[in-house]
C-alpha cells in the first residue's frame, strides 16, 4: 500500500447535489462519509474527503469538479446522483485526465449523454478516466416487463418521458424502451417528450385513454407524477399498472400522494433486504439502513447503498494502486472485482454493449411495489426478482385497485 507508506492522506473528491431540487439524493452523504472516515481511520488508513455541492446545477457541478482537481488536487473524484451532476463532473475529469468513479444514474444517459453526438452511435468513444457503476435501461425494462407479466393485461403501454437526461434515454428509439417493448409484444403509446414541471397532462391522458392503455410507465420528477396521477383520476383514467422511475423513489414522495400511491411500482436499486454486505465494515444492508435511520431519524432511501458502495470502490482501488499515479489508479479501477453493499462491482463488460464495456459496471436491479401500511405510510416490497434471484422477493405483483 504505497500511499500509506508515505504517510500522506489519500485525497478523495466527492460531488453530489446536496442542495437544490435533487437534494433528496444526497441526504445520506454526511452519514456515509462520516462512517467511511471513522472506519478507514480505525483500520489505520489516512483518507481525506473533500465534499462539494453541485447545488443541483450542472454549471456548478462542472465548476466544483474543476476546483477539486485544480485547487484541492484530489487523487480520485467520486460523483453520485442523476446525470445533472454526474455528467458534467465526469466530463471535466475526462478532460483533466483525473480518475473518476460515478454512480446513481442509469448508464445510458451517463455514457451516451457525454458523447459529442448522442444521435450517432458510430461516433461514440469510450472514456479513459471516467468509470460508472449502476444499472441500465435494459435492466429497468426487464424488471418492468417481468412485473407486468405477473398480471393479465392488454399489453398496451402508455409512456411518460420528459425531455431531460433520463427521459430522453428511456424513450430513445434505439437504446430505450420502445424497441424492447415491441419485441416483448407490448404496444407503446408515447405522445412525446414533455418539459419538466408541466402543469397539465390532459394531452397524455387523452392519448392513453384512446389507446386503451392498461399500463403506464415513465421516468418522472415527483411533482409531475402527482399532477399526472391526480388528473388521471379526475378524468377517469385508471390503469392496472403504473411503473414509474424516479418520481416514487423516495417514501416522502409516495406519501405525498395520499392513499393513491398504493401498488404503484418502481425499480428497486437497493433495499435493506438486499443480501449484500459492505466490504468496508462488514455491515449488512439492513444494518446500514437501520444505522442511517437511527443517526438521522429519517427513513432509509435507495441512494444510501450506492453512496456507500462508491466509497467502498474508492477504498478498494487505493489499496491496489498508488493514488498519486493516475494511470495506475485507472488501471486499478478497470480491474476492480469487489462485492459491495449493492452487489458485485466489476468493469468486466458483462451484460454491457461493447462500446461501453470499458467504462460501465452493472449492479443488480429488481422490481418493487409500494404498499400502504395499516397505520399509514408505505412499505416498498420487492415483487419481482427474476433479474436477480439472489435478492429475496417479499410478495407478488398486485393490480392497482
Amino acid at each position: 500500500m504505497p500511499a500509506i507508506a508515505k504517510g500522506a492522506a489519500i485525497k478523495l473528491g466527492y460531488v453530489s447535489p446536496q442542495t437544490g431540487p435533487l437534494a433528496a439524493f444526497a441526504e445520506a452523504d454526511k452519514f456515509i462519509i462520516d462512517g467511511f472516515l471513522a472506519n478507514t481511520q480505525a483500520a489505520g488508513l489516512n483518507f481525506e474527503v473533500v465534499v462539494k455541492d453541485s447545488q443541483s446545477n450542472p454549471n456548478r457541478a462542472a465548476d466544483v469538479a474543476k476546483e477539486l482537481i485544480v485547487d484541492d488536487e484530489v487523487n480520485i473524484v467520486l460523483v453520485a446522483s442523476t446525470p445533472e451532476t454526474t455528467n458534467p463532473v465526469a466530463t471535466t475529469c475526462e478532460a483533466e485526465e483525473v480518475p473518476c468513479i460515478s454512480t446513481a444514474a442509469p448508464w445510458q444517459p451517463w455514457f451516451i449523454g457525454q458523447q459529442a453526438n448522442p444521435g450517432d452511435p458510430s461516433s461514440w468513444q469510450p472514456f479513459n478516466h471516467a468509470f460508472h457503476f449502476f444499472w441500465g435501461l435494459e435492466d429497468v425494462i426487464a424488471v418492468y416487463t417481468n412485473m407486468w407479466q405477473q398480471l393479465e393485461t392488454n399489453k398496451s403501454v402508455g409512456g411518460l418521458f420528459p425531455n431531460d437526461g433520463d427521459g430522453n434515454a428511456w424513450g430513445d428509439k434505439a437504446v430505450g424502451f420502445p424497441p424492447v417493448l415491441e419485441k416483448g409484444g407490448y404496444s407503446l403509446n408515447d405522445p412525446g417528450r414533455y418539459q419538466n414541471l408541466t402543469d397539465d397532462f390532459s394531452a397524455q391522458i387523452n392519448a392513453f385513454k384512446s389507446g386503451n392503455c392498461e399500463i403506464i410507465t415513465g421516468v418522472m420528477i415527483p411533482p409531475d407524477f402527482t399532477t399526472f396521477w391526480n388528473q388521471a383520476k379526475q378524468q377517469g383514467f385508471r390503469p392496472k399498472i403504473a411503473s414509474i422511475g424516479k418520481a416514487i423513489l423516495f417514501p416522502q414522495a409516495v406519501e405525498a400522494l395520499g392513499d393513491t400511491g398504493h401498488n404503484l411500482s418502481c425499480e428497486v436499486w437497493w433495499s435493506p433486504s438486499h443480501p449484500f454486505k459492505s466490504s468496508l465494515t462488514g455491515e449488512s444492508a439492513a444494518e446500514l439502513a437501520a444505522g442511517f435511520s437511527k443517526a438521522t431519524g429519517r427513513p432509509w432511501t435507495q441512494p444510501i447503498g450506492f453512496a456507500h458502495a462508491l466509497f467502498e470502490v474508492a477504498a478498494d482501488v487505493t489499496k491496489r494502486a498508488d493514488p498519486t499515479d493516475s494511470a495506475a489508479v485507472v488501471a486499478a479501477i478497470a480491474a476492480t472485482r469487489l462485492d459491495t453493499i449493492v452487489g458485485p462491482v466489476a468493469w468486466d463488460g458483462a451484460n454491457v454493449p461493447p462500446f461501453a464495456a470499458k467504462n460501465i459496471a452493472k449492479t443488480p436491479l429488481v422490481g418493487g411495489q409500494w404498499r400502504l401500511k395499516d397505520g399509514g405510510g408505505y412499505d416498498l416490497v420487492v415483487v419481482d426478482n427474476r433479474t436477480a434471484p439472489v435478492i429475496p422477493a417479499g410478495g407478488k405483483m398486485e393490480a392497482i385497485a
Binding site: D53, Q55, P88, T91, T92, A116, N117, G165
Partner: protein, 373 residues
C-alpha cells in the same frame, strides 16, 4: 444674468470659439490610465506565474465581467433592462458546440460563430422586444430566452434536453495550446487553461474598451438622452430605436462570444445550464448593481465582490445563497448606486470619466463643486 444676443455665435467667430474648452479627463483619470496599463500588462503575464487554480478563478472573473459590461451597456446606458441575456449566452454556446462537435470547426472559429449567431438571433429579438417598454421589455426578453431554450432542447443531435459533451480532445486542438505546452513545459490541460485565460482577458478588455469608446462618442451621448427621455430625444433628431438596436446587437455579439468561450472551457453543454437565468442574468445583474450601474468601474468592482462572496460562502450550501440574497438586498437598500457610486460620491474620483465638462469663458470663475455638481 447678463443678456447677450446670439449674433456672436451665429457668425462663429474664431475668437469666441477659442474661449471655451470641453474636457472629460480629470487628474484621477490620468493616473488611472497608467494604472490600467500596468494591470493589463500584469494580466497578460499572469499565466507565467499564477497557478492553474488562480487562472481558473481569473477566467471566471473575466467572463463574468464581460457579461456584466454587456448587460450594463444595455441597462445602465441604453435603459434596456433585459432579463434574457442568457438567450445569447446559450445560443452562442450551442452554435459553438455544434460547430465543434458536428461541424468539426476549429474552436476559435467556433467561438466567432457563436458570437455571430447570437448577434443574428438578436435581430428578430430586437424587432420584437423593442416594441415593449420597462417591465414589459424585461419579461419579454425573458420569455424569448425561454423559447430559445425550449427550441434548442429539441435539437436531438446535441442531446435534446440532456445536453452533450464536447469531444474530449477539443481543448488540445485550440490553436496555440500545443505551442504553449511546449514553450512552458506544462501539461496540455494547463496550457489550454492559459489559452482560455488569454482569450477571456482579450474579450473582457475588448468589452470595456468598446463600452468606454462608445460612451465618449456622440452615440454615447445620444444613448443617454434616449434613456432619459425618448420623446425629447426624437424631437432633437435622435432615432432611439436605431441607436438602441446597435447597442443591443453589439451586446448580443459580445455576450454570445463570452457564452461560447465559457462553454468551450466547460466542455459540456445542456439547455438548462446554458440558458440558466440565474447564472447568466441574475448573477450578472447582481454584479452590476452591487458595483454601480451606469459606470464602467461598477461591474469591475461588482465582479470582484461577487467572486469573494462566492469563495467565502460556497461551501455552506444553502446558507451561501441565503447570505448572498440578504447581501444583495442590503446593498440595494443602503447603497442603491452601488459600491462604486458610494466611492465616487465621497471622493469624486472617476477612472473612466465620460461627463463633458465645459470650461473657459466666464465659467472658470463661477463654477464650483465636483463633477456631480
Amino acid at each position: 444674468m447678463t443678456h447677450e444676443t446670439l449674433s456672436s455665435s451665429s457668425s462663429q467667430a474664431p475668437a469666441a470659439a477659442s474661449a471655451w474648452t470641453v474636457t472629460t479627463r480629470n487628474r484621477a483619470s490620468s493616473v488611472a490610465a497608467l494604472l490600467i496599463v500596468a494591470v493589463l500588462l500584469a494580466g497578460i503575464a499572469a499565466p507565467l506565474f499564477a497557478s492553474r487554480s488562480v487562472l481558473q478563478d481569473l477566467f471566471f472573473i473575466l467572463t463574468m465581467l464581460t457579461l456584466a459590461q454587456c448587460w450594463n451597456l444595455l441597462a445602465g446606458y441604453a435603459g434596456l433592462v433585459s432579463v434574457g441575456q442568457q438567450a445569447f449566452v446559450g445560443f452562442g454556446a450551442y452554435v459553438m458546440a455544434a460547430s465543434v462537435a458536428l461541424g468539426g470547426f476549429d474552436p476559435v472559429v467556433a467561438i466567432l460563430f457563436g458570437g455571430l449567431a447570437a448577434m443574428l438571433l438578436s435581430v428578430p429579438t430586437a424587432l420584437f422586444v423593442f416594441r415593449l417598454h420597462g417591465a414589459y421589455f424585461a419579461i419579454g426578453t425573458w420569455v424569448i430566452a425561454e423559447v430559445v431554450r425550449l427550441l434548442l432542447a429539441q435539437w436531438k443531435a446535441l442531446g435534446g434536453g440532456t445536453g452533450t459533451s464536447l469531444p474530449t480532445g477539443v481543448a488540445r486542438e485550440l490553436p496555440g495550446v500545443r505551442l504553449v505546452a511546449d514553450w512552458f513545459g506544462v501539461r496540455p490541460a494547463q496550457a489550454a487553461d492559459m489559452v482560455y485565460y488569454w482569450l477571456a482577458l482579450l474579450l473582457a478588455c475588448a468589452a470595456i474598451g468598446f463600452a468606454y469608446r462608445l460612451l465618449r462618442s456622440k452615440q454615447g451621448l445620444g444613448l443617454a438622452a434616449v434613456r432619459d427621455n425618448g420623446q425629447a430625444a426624437r424631437a432633437v433628431g435622435i432615432d432611439p430605436n436605431r441607436i438602441r438596436f446597435a447597442v443591443y446587437l453589439a451586446a448580443a455579439f459580445v455576450t454570445g462570444l463570452a457564452g461560447a468561450l465559457i462553454y468551450l472551457q466547460k466542455a459540456r453543454i445542456s439547455p438548462d445550464a446554458a440558458f440558466s437565468v440565474t447564472d447568466w442574468t441574475a448573477y450578472v445583474i447582481f454584479i452590476v448593481v452591487i458595483g454601480g450601474i451606469g459606470t464602467i468601474e461598477g461591474p469591475i468592482i461588482g465582479v470582484v465582490v461577487f467572486f469573494i462572496l462566492r469563495n467565502l460562502f460556497a461551501d455552506y450550501g444553502s446558507w451561501y445563497l441565503l447570505v448572498l440574497g440578504l447581501l444583495g438586498i442590503a446593498i440595494m437598500l443602503f447603497a442603491p448606486r452601488g459600491l462604486w457610486g458610494l466611492f465616487t460620491e465621497r471622493t469624486g474620483i472617476q477612472l473612466f470619466p465620460v461627463r463633458r465638462i465645459l470650461a473657459g469663458g466666464p465659467l472658470t470663475k463661477t463654477i464650483k463643486g465636483g463633477p456631480h455638481g
